[in-house]
Amino acid sequence: MRLAKVIVGFWTLALLAVSCSDNSCYENGSALPLVRFYAFGTTTQVALAEVTIRGIDAPGDSMLVESTTVGEVYLPLRVSVSTTQWEFEYGGVYEGVKDTLTLQYKSIPYFASVECGAMYNFELSSVTMTGHLADSVAVVKQVVDNGMDVAIRLFYPTE
């Protein structure tokens, strides 16, 4: 009888061991570079007012962000080519001013996990920004994966 109890206990624990699994993805389902905006020469985060962001050559000229105040943005990259360009059109007192962010990279097929799925990672080789309003750009994460940390910092002058 005592042995039977031990065996039943073992089976209960074993079933718990099998059933206790977490099927959630705590990261992004795709690899997207997170771009965050900073005041020039500092690590102070700033927000761009009434900015419109669109991909150059995007189907239907669709906008990713339209006249919205944002402090950071995820920019999806194309996998069929090795270069993606994004246009930043500023509003308010800088209306009509535009900057272009150009990213060159290599697309790498990547299996993140059963929960998050298969995707592409991007190994950045060059990131440039025109300087009409933006001051400079810094790459802080060369291989863009499905993590949620910042990949690119854009610096803007502040008054």
Partner: protein, 293 residues
Amino acid sequence: MAWMLQYDCSIPPNETIQMNRSFLFILLLLMAVTSAAQDSLRYITPVKPATNVVQPPPRGTSEETIRRYLAGDSAAMEQARQDSLKKAYFHYPLLTDLSVGVNFIDPVLMLLGQDYASVDVHATLNMWNRLQPTVEIGVGWGKTTPEDMNFTYIAKPSLYGKIGFNYNFLFKSEPRYQAFLGLRLGFSSFKYDITDVTYQNSYWNENVTYDSRGISSNALWGEGLAGIKVGIWRQWSLGWTIRYHGLFNYKKSELGRPWFIPGYGPRKRSLGFTVSLSYTIPFNSTTKTITNQ
């Protein structure tokens, strides 16, 4: 008695009182000494109550020993006590037995819908019925296509090995019945494919499919386990273990991280269990017994 009466009568009364006092003093002194000796005897020879019981001579004891035992011979009683101790505590030899078995639960669970399996054969050397060095060699494989996901993961059949030991807490009992804790060190070198991947980028209106095949990886891990083993028929027995494991290291590829590790299970799962059927080959049919000090 007559001598005492005569002697008492011949002594003067004042000497009688003095003698009575001396006699009482000596009597009290003797009682104190013997009492102290008895107390000290109790404390300086502690014994386990269960082992201090002198049991009847075990079977096979010679007639002469039994006769002396019944006659109250102290040497015979001591011999009987030693024999009863020997009977109570088996002491198994260095090489008690060898068990070989197969862990078969994963294929059964695969029939019930599990996506992976690890099957191994193991050999366990039972030393003194306590320490049990163990080797496990097996093969693991798996395949999964989760619902609402964009891939098929194929873990190709790959070998794995584990070495370690168990400590049997029922070392006084028969080797057929064991309850043990153990440690394992495991290693596997394996390959996997990620196929039928569909990648969609709604903003750029891209739909791409690809396969990544032959991704190689390896893993080193440790396991702590608790288990029981029960004899079911002759030399055959069933064993259950629950295992908590953790990865010491595994190879990450540019193309991804493995989901399944042969012998370990899903990479993110830290608990596992096994059920095994094993056959025990005894090295010696007789058991040695302890030499009682």
